[in-house]
């Protein structure tokens, strides 16, 4: 019997896991953005002293885990699992970091939804009694993503207005079965939804249907309403995807406009930093959540947050073969009061 199951897609934890600490590392451009004061480490050079951007991203992820563990007053050896993923082929960034850290490792791929995927599974592991401490961490890097998914950096092409800017950043959260901090009470796992968007330069529109489906299912399963939250925040839908999600959720009978934000629109000043539709990447919701949102929650400026990281499940192969872009979104309820 699934006693902790609520409705179709949601689980409710008996002993809500605590996020006892978080840490973030971001690149120089993110460090110039409006949230710069909330990040722990801001790199001055996105190569981070490494030979390649892929290695730099992996180092970013690794160091962020170390900082988070330190802030939690724990040791790396206290971590029983590391749930982690990134955007690189075969999860180079996460698995190379896990090699160096020596923590038992589950590699996850949910494209840019990986942050809430790892928080969801992490919370389930802890509530299920399979672990006391674990770390959920994701990363992305503009330069490594750009060369894998798009064009060489020095190519003189124009980015369409719908294009988003991959965030160089990593965010790590330490989950524990006891301790002080905001708790994860509910998890709504998303379905893969595809409404036929093919344009890889318009990922917001590709992911918006998945986001709105997960948000709607979350409300239906839990009985919560938009008023139950101080903040409902999606991962990286950008300007276009955010607007679509708002409208699609409204069509289902929920008006989230008042409390709804998108990490992709928070991390950059789109006009001044010329990022077009906003930020994207696993590192986007990871750094905004582990940086800004978590700190706001510690200061009690935010008390109940629904975090929905959103992923576009395309590959370079599927895009070249002219396939549509499936989207996914997972929602996690994080609260100060139980």
């Amino acid at each position: 019997m699934a006693t902790k199951k609520l409705g179709k897609q949601t689980v409710k934890f008996d002993h809500p896991p605590v996020i006892i600490a978080t840490a973030t590392t971001v690149g120089p451009k993110e460090g110039e953005g409006p949230l710069s004061s909330y990040f722990d480490t801001i790199l001055s050079d996105d190569l981070y002293g490494e030979k390649s951007w892929e290695l730099a991203e992996s180092k970013m992820l690794r160091e962020t885990v170390k900082t988070a563990v330190q802030k939690a007053n724990k040791n790396i050896t206290d971590m029983e699992y590391m749930l982690s993923g990134d955007l690189l082929n075969q999860l180079m960034s996460a698995s190379f970091a896990a090699r160096d850290l020596g923590i038992p490792f589950f590699g996850l791929y949910g494209a840019c939804s990986t942050m809430t995927e790892s928080l969801s599974l992490g919370a389930m592991l802890i509530d299920g009694g399979y672990a006391t401490h674990l770390v959920a961490v994701t990363s992305s890097h503009f330069s490594s993503a750009e060369r894998q998914f798009r064009f060489p950096l020095e190519l003189g092409n124009q980015r369409p207005l719908t294009a988003q800017w991959t965030v160089t950043g990593a965010g790590a959260a330490i989950l524990a079965s006891y301790g002080q901090g905001p708790r994860i009470t509910h998890v709504t796992t998303g379905k893969v939804i595809d409404l036929g968007i093919k344009d890889a330069n318009n990922m917001g529109a590709a992911m918006a249907p998945a986001a709105s489906d997960t948000i709607t299912m979350h409300f239906q399963d839990t009985g919560f309403t938009p008023e139950s939250y101080d903040l409902i925040v999606t991962g990286d839908l950008g300007a276009i995807g955010k607007e679509i999600t708002e409208e699609m959720v409204y069509d289902q009978g929920y008006n989230i406009t008042k409390v709804y934000e998108d990490c992709g629109l928070m991390i950059f000043d789109n006009k001044a930093q010329d990022t077009h539709a906003g930020g994207s990447g696993c590192g986007c919701s990871a750094s905004v959540f582990c940086g800004y949102i978590y700190k706001q929650m510690l200061e009690k400026k935010l008390n109940r947050v629904l975090l929905i990281s959103t992923g576009a499940l395309l590959s370079t192969t599927s895009a070249q073969q002219g396939q549509t872009i499936p989207g996914i979104a997972h929602a996690v309820t994080i609260t100060n009061h139980i």
Binding site: L47, W53, F142, S143, P152, L153, E154, N157, D199
Partner: protein
């Protein structure tokens, strides 16, 4: 006068490219392939020659000009050498530019490393 004509013709060809990129789903790579092939075909049909005579570098520097050089070379060599010329003419006429691109491309990538975008 030559310069003004080159400016206008070259500028217009680029505007066509821009409109194709902005107005359709074509990527820059598609536009380049389209332009080279269009240059070849238009030259074969005798349409590009007058444009090139009028516009000078304005018509030869953009990519359709590359197609123009290819087709012109192929036709010229076919006239002189027959079937073999059809195979060698185009490549021969553009060999300088392509070889330069390979050599300089290699050298630049040895000397420089790409910088991240701001």
């Amino acid at each position: 006068m030559d310069y003004i004509r080159a400016f206008v013709v070259g500028g217009l060809i680029c505007v066509i490219g821009q409109l194709l990129m902005d107005g359709t789903k074509l990527t820059p790579a598609h536009v380049l392939v389209l332009f080279v092939t269009a240059g070849v075909i238009l030259t074969a049909l005798g349409i590009y020659e007058p444009i090139a005579e009028f516009g000078g570098a304005g018509a030869t520097v953009p990519l359709p000009g590359f197609g123009y050089a290819l087709a012109k070379g192929a036709i010229k060599a076919t006239k002189a050498k027959g079937v073999l010329g059809a195979f060698t003419g185009g490549v021969q006429a553009t060999a300088g530019g392509v070889a330069a691109a390979i050599l300089f491309g290699y050298l630049m990538s040895v000397i420089f490393t790409p910088k991240t975008k701001k």
